[in-house]
Structure formats: structure tokens, C-alpha cells
Symmetry: none
Amino acid sequence: MSSRRNLADVARVIKQHQSFLLTAHVRPDGDAIGSLLALYWALRGLGKRATMVLHDECPQAYRFLPGWAAILSPDDADDEWRFDAAVVLDCEGLERTGAVADLLANIRPIIDIDHHAGRKAFGDVHATYEDAAATAELIYELLGHLAAPLTADIATCLLAGLMFDTGSFRYANTTARALRTAAALVEAGARADRVASALFAEEPFPKVVLRGIALSRARLAAGGRICGSYLQRADFAATGALDEHAEGIVEELRGVGGVLVGILSRELPTGEAKLSFRSHGVPDVSQIAAQFGGGGHREAAGSCFAGSAEEALDAAMAAVERALAEAEERQAK
Amino acid sequence: MSSRRNLADVARVIKQHQSFLLTAHVRPDGDAIGSLLALYWALRGLGKRATMVLHDECPQAYRFLPGWAAILSPDDADDEWRFDAAVVLDCEGLERTGAVADLLANIRPIIDIDHHAGRKAFGDVHATYEDAAATAELIYELLGHLAAPLTADIATCLLAGLMFDTGSFRYANTTARALRTAAALVEAGARADRVASALFAEEPFPKVVLRGIALSRARLAAGGRICGSYLQRADFAATGALDEHAEGIVEELRGVGGVLVGILSRELPTGEAKLSFRSHGVPDVSQIAAQFGGGGHREAAGSCFAGSAEEALDAAMAAVERALAEAEERQAK
């Protein structure tokens, strides 16, 4: 196991300083928040001063983590703020900190800790390792170099980061080292089931029932390569579900074995239908959405449709079926 | 870390014998199949003869595991079959092996390896540890006692068992020991992402629609602390779903925000109902299942019910509601 020596350099620099600004990227995810909070508690445990500042608010899903309420906004900055050093976590570049970058312009040294691939190092001290499953894995190792106690709170924050970035140990970045780190965190008092249920599992009841309605109506086309379903306003009314509760359904339709394109059509409060398309990259669903005046990416696209949700679904399934047939013809030539 | 000494006894008995019948429970899950195949390969690697026999066919979802096609049915038994010993995996009782029990009647010694809680040991040699996350975790440790090489194939089978029974490390049985075992398996060549995508990601269409039907019928009780649903044979018939396709639904019911206990009641081909209970550890659902003549773990338990699926659900929801009320009364005192 490589020793990631730059973390020893980072630890040395941290020991030499007293007050820190800690930040991470805009639209923070579980690894950004978990790593940030863990380092915050560890520095405080070492008798240092630490101030967390993020461009965005802490998302609701991570508010089970101890310390989230202490995260400040760049708007909270005042003239009294003085920092000996800054730590930038889980960012591919300084600009990923959003408005926090303005604050960082006046702080030296800047310490850069990250695990993203193909990035340029920035700042004055770097510990960037592509083979780390998450920034949280690096923070865990940094705490060892700092001889900082691994409290149950810190372990919980780090496990949240690690479980988020590995999709609960389902993604290809799930290395033996990541699993061993997780074991140490559980041993220190983190509960994988609690972290998972906060990060992944807990869903509002109306959302679950709405998903049930959509999945129960799913149908296949094009020999099982297209899976589509629809939702009407009556379904939202019957379940008390909000529009945002339809999130994730179209990914489940795409997740059916053999399916290339998942489609969800749902009636909007305006009476129009909203079409969502998902693929695994082939076919390019942004081109199909474009036929309906919409757009997006290869894997995820959407558009509106002047008609009922069922009519929209029929039209969308027919369009995808044509696109698949045309692609086959091109291949046959 | 306790050493689970009975595994050393099991290893000793295995070393003394040459030909083995290996089996696991009816309606085999990922842990049953993964543990069975891993032990099969390990015994063969040690130059022993091993024959796998299961009451049911290997479910489609586990056919990515090496060796599944060698699993036989009790109908394949012939007069030539002679075994020095049998190993019964992941079974709370001998009767859980279904029709394989008839074959076991003529074999001694029987080795019992399992991790279910509140069970009675059976057979002649036992290694039953409730604190193991999965039977696969015990097989991993047994291989150490046998000095059997941990090939990538064996590691893959064991990781499948471990990931299945921990819900990819999201359930309360995700101990540090389970995570360390997983680390060792990944180090030996198992790929967590491949196991996860085979176990969890691609789902057959009938399974998705069946889940939809169950979720669309979900209802809450006890102020949102119980979430239950049911499935009838007609639902299986309408969707073409198999019994194994009901897997995972009860975990989704438990995953509803605020829910302490998820319950799924489904009609079996026999006309009886099968009740599945899931909690986050409190209340202990094995005690509730015991009221219906079943059993299991704190977090996961089940039982049969002589009545319709809806009647079973009503009775189960009422029993859980009583258990919650009694727990509150005890706390108030």
C-alpha cells in the first residue's frame, strides 16, 4: 500500500499554523461535506481554530452530520476574519469554490486535498491522489499523520463521504483500501446503516407510492429496448406527491435489464406533459429530445409536449423506436 | 475480534473427509448461493469431491457467479451417490433445505454453518455465529482454517454473499469485520462494482413492475412508523414475476422516512401468506415474527401465515403496532 507521502507534508504545514479557513466545491456533495466537517472537528480537537465557508448551503440530506450548522457563507465574511492558512477540499480547481475564491485570494498557504483524476494541482501544498476513492479517505489518512483522535463524530462524517463517493461500495473506485478505511471508521463508532439511511434510503412516503404507480404502469417496446411510463396530475393528487418526487423514476426504467432508453412522461400543473429520457449513452437521447423541441445530454435529456401524458409517452416511445431502427439500418449498410 | 473457534472444528472435520454434499436453503438468496459456490471451489481446490444440491434452481440474478451451472436438484440423485459428510449453509433448520433433507437423512456427519439469530443448532458439527454479517463471512474465515487458497473466483462468490446480506454495506449488520472481510476479498481479485451491478443494478422487467404494484399499495400505520404492503398471486401472474422478484421491496418500505418497521405480505403458491419484517434494529422484529411462528434477526425476520396476503398484512401491522405501544408504555414507566 503506497504511503501517500504528501499527506505528511500537509500535516506538517497544518501543525505550523493556528487558524484555518476550510472550504469545498459549489453544490457540495456527501464527500465535500463529510470531508469538510471531519477536518473541522479534527482541527478543533487539536486546539486550532477552523472556519468552514461554502458557496452553497449544506443540502438537507447531509444535515444529520455533526457540525453542519456551523458552515458559513461567503456573505458572512467580515473585516475581522484572519486566517493563517486555507484548506480546499475535493475541488478540481480553485474556481470550483465559487464565491469563496475571493476570500482565498488573501490567504497563504493554500492546501489542496483532492482525489479527482486528470486535474492540475493548485495552491501551495498538495495532497492529490487519483487512486483515493474519496477525499474522505485522504482526510482519514491525514488524521493519522496529525495524530488527531478519531472520534465517532469524525468517523461518521468520513464514512458519509466514503459511502457517498463509492455509491455505498458499488462503484469501480471501491478498493480494498477504501473498504479497510470504512472498517476503521465503523470501529471508531460510525454506523454504516445510519449513514446509508440518511444518504440513500429515507424517502418521503408520497414519493415511494408515486414511484410505485409509475413502475406498476411501465411498458416495454422495441423488443425490450425501450421502457416507458407516465404519471397524471391525479396520481400526484392521490398520493400528495410533489413534482420533485418524480425524480429517480426514469433511471429505474432505464435500469431494467436489456433496456437502452427509459422514458417518463408526466403531466405538469400547466396541463402540458414533461418528457424525460435516459440512456446508457447510446442512443444519444438529446437528439431525440430535440425532435420535441427539448435538449440535454447523451444520457439524460428532456422536453415538453402539448398533450396528455399518455399521448406524450406514445409519441416519445415511437420516436425512440424510429431512432433505434435508423441506427440499425446505418449499421447494416 | 473473537476467533469463532467452532470454525476450527469444522475445518478439522472437513480435512478428515473426502466427498461432500453441499446445500443451502430453499428460495436461495445471494448469501446462500455465494457461500455454496465458494465452499464448492475451495473443497475442489483442496482435492476433495463436492456436489452442490439445492431444492430450487439458481436464480437468474446469481448466474454471473462461477460454478452456478454445477448446482444439482434433488431429482438428480442416483443410487451411486455416496457422501462422507454434508455441509448445510445459511439454514435456520434442516427443514429449510426443502427436498434435500431426504438426502441428508442418510449422511453423517452434517456440518451446520449459519449466521441467523435465535436458531437451534442441528447436525453434528456447528459453526453458527449470529454476529457474522453473512454466512459468506464465516466461509471466508473457514478457508483460513483450511489453508485453502482464496482465488479471485472464490472471492467473487463470497463478496456476492456479503454484499447481498448487508445490502451493499447499508444494513445494521455492516460491522468492521464485514468490511475488513470485503477488503480482503477485493484484494484477492473480487470486483465490488461488478458484483453490485449483477446483484443490484439490472433488474428484470417483471420484478420492476411487481415492485411498482407493491409500492403503489403501500400504507402507513402507527403515525407513520409502520409501512406495509401486499402482493397476491394474481400480481405475479399479471407481471410474469417469480417469487424471488419480491426481494428488496420490504427494504424499500422500511426506507420510507419516519418508518421503523416495513412489512411485506405476499401470497405463496401454496395459498399461504409469507410475512417479511424489516426494522432498523428497534423494535426487534424477530420477536414479532415469533408471534406468527417465524423468526430471524432483530432487523430482518419472517414467518408464514395461514390466510390471505391482505389478512396477514392486517394481522402483522396490528402486531407491530401493539409492540410499539408496549415499548412506549415500558419507557414511560
